[in-house]
């Protein structure tokens, strides 16, 4: 039982890492374009331009991998547990922002991340 929980948490971490990589590619692709202003139509035009950027396809690839792992996770455990544990992507995104994008992560944000870690631990223990 405990081994299964560890395995599922590992898989959820894997989907979160894939999501983080996906976000990093998406962010770098979006940064290479001029941001849209205003309405849904402008956003749609922006998305069409975005699809032409090769990095976006890498981002899609990682979201597809993430989706497949996620579906397997959902076949094994409760949705309420899996979704709560999936909040660990906030941790990976903060780490990636700090160490890959070299952004400054404030103390408040680290505290928020600590709270998320405690929350995931509580949800997993139940």
């Amino acid at each position: 039982m405990r081994e299964k929980l560890v395995f599922i948490l590992f898989l959820i971490a894997l989907t979160s890492i894939c999501d983080t990589i996906n976000q990093l590619f998406l962010k770098s692709a979006i940064n290479s374009l001029i941001p849209p202003r205003g309405n849904v139509r402008a956003v749609l035009r922006f998305i069409i331009k975005l699809i032409a950027v090769p990095r976006v396809w890498l981002s899609f690839l990682f979201s597809l991998i993430s989706l497949c792992i996620w579906l397997f996770v959902l076949s094994q455990v409760d949705l309420s547990f899996a979704f709560s544990a999936d909040s660990m992507h906030y941790i990976f995104i903060a780490l990636a922002s700090r160490f890959i994008l070299k952004e400054r992560v404030s103390l408040k944000r680290w505290m928020g991340i600590a709270l998320i870690v405690v929350g995931i631990a509580l949800v997993s223990l139940s």
Binding site: P35, P36, R37, G38, N39, V40, A42, V43, L44, F46, I47, C68, W70, L71, F72, L74, S75, Q76, D78, L79, S80, F81, F83, S84, S87, Y90, A94, R104, S106, K108, R109, M111, G112, I113, A114, L115, I116, V117, V118, G119, I120, A121, L122, V123, S124, L125, S126
Partner: protein, 138 residues
Amino acid sequence: MFKNKLTFKLLFFLVLTDFLETFIHLCFKKSTLLEEGVVITNSSELFVFLQNVFSSPFLLIGLVLVVGTFILWSSLLSRVDLSVAVPICSFSYILIPLASIIFLHEKVSLFRWGGVLFILLGVVLVSLSTSEKGRALE
């Protein structure tokens, strides 16, 4: 960059994305219900699992809504600060356990709700510090 104040209309769409998100995850979970507890040991079993799940209509509905929500969310973010949008949208951390109880008959213990509360506070704290960074840049 100039952003509009949070109007009632914007708030409505932000809450709508919460409900869409919840609905998407319910659809994903529903698409895997027939495969509940499946054991995968090799690549052909993995292929069969994915084939079964991807042929479920629930998954297709979920994927269509993912694209729709992505477009809605992107256009909302051009009008609302991330530090406002994310806390409102983390409401789905409560909606999803509620929907799991109602529609999937899952049991959520008090302990788990405690965990959800911590996660929620954490997400709000993480996103609130975004506005400070924005202010520092101005």
